[in-house]
């Protein structure tokens, strides 16, 4: 699975994109976040923000959106365009 990070999330995690095989049992965004948090303290802290937004295949998603290995997931802070 391709996972993208944007904005200050990208800076805090020090990466804009990772590839991650979806572990059995990682069925939705909430479970993916828990898996990613285990990568280290930076990840634990950054991905615990309640304001964190997510998209699956370039469409806004929620914590209970279901995932497949072929999905493109993006995690980012609240948007500030316009």
């Amino acid at each position: 699975m391709k996972i993208l990070f944007f904005g200050n999330l990208r800076e805090q995690l020090g990466t804009g994109e990772i590839e991650l095989p979806v572990a059995p049992g990682t069925n939705n965004i909430a479970e993916l976040l828990e898996t990613l948090k285990q990568r280290g303290p930076e990840w634990q802290q950054t991905l615990s923000a309640g304001s964190l937004l997510c998209a699956v295949n370039q469409t806004m998603a929620t914590r209970d959106t279901l995932l497949e290995d072929s999905d493109e997931v993006a995690l980012f802070p609240p948007v500030t365009g316009g």
Partner: protein, 153 residues
């Protein structure tokens, strides 16, 4: 018709308005909004960087425009949003809407801006002249403004 552009280059608001008129005789009114980079903070702004999510950005703006088109009787919608490094005073965004009557144009233009600000995947980072930087924080007031449109329905 809906026209979306996400680009680094500047835009000509006059040209955008002429496109909305586009040899038609059924356009009764055109409402537009343009947003600029402002330097009103405590620290003088050097420039602003606009990051986005290529692909999703265009799709998000398209969906916002489609929602406006479903809600009001519109003729054309044009949205231009810039990305990359922008200086104070530079244009960031253009939203233009044409309709037979002004009420639909005014409402749709405001709706598109409110929706865009809370949905389109753009992130602003400010680079100050003293060398420090700061990501722009999302405003609660923008969420509240956008929520008004749900209540109106």
């Amino acid at each position: 018709m809906i026209t979306i552009a996400v680009q680094a280059a500047d835009f000509d608001a006059g040209q955008e308005i002429r496109q909305l008129q586009a040899d038609r005789t059924d356009v009764g009114g055109i409402a537009i909004f343009t947003g600029q980079v402002r330097d009103t903070g405590d620290k003088p702004l050097g420039f602003m960087h606009l990051e986005h999510y290529p692909g999703m950005t265009e799709a998000s703006l398209q969906q916002t425009a489609e929602q406006a088109a479903q809600r009001w009787a519109l003729i054309d919608i044009r949205i231009v949003h810039r990305i990359g490094d922008l200086l104070p005073g530079d244009q960031i965004v253009f939203v233009g809407v044409s309709s037979i009557h002004r009420e639909a144009a005014f409402n749709a233009c405001e709706f598109i801006m409110d929706h865009l600000k809370t949905h389109a995947p753009f992130w602003k980072k400010e680079y100050y002249r003293d060398g420090s930087t700061q990501w722009v924080e999302a405003k609660q007031t923008d969420q509240q403004r956008n929520a008004r449109w749900d209540q109106h329905n």
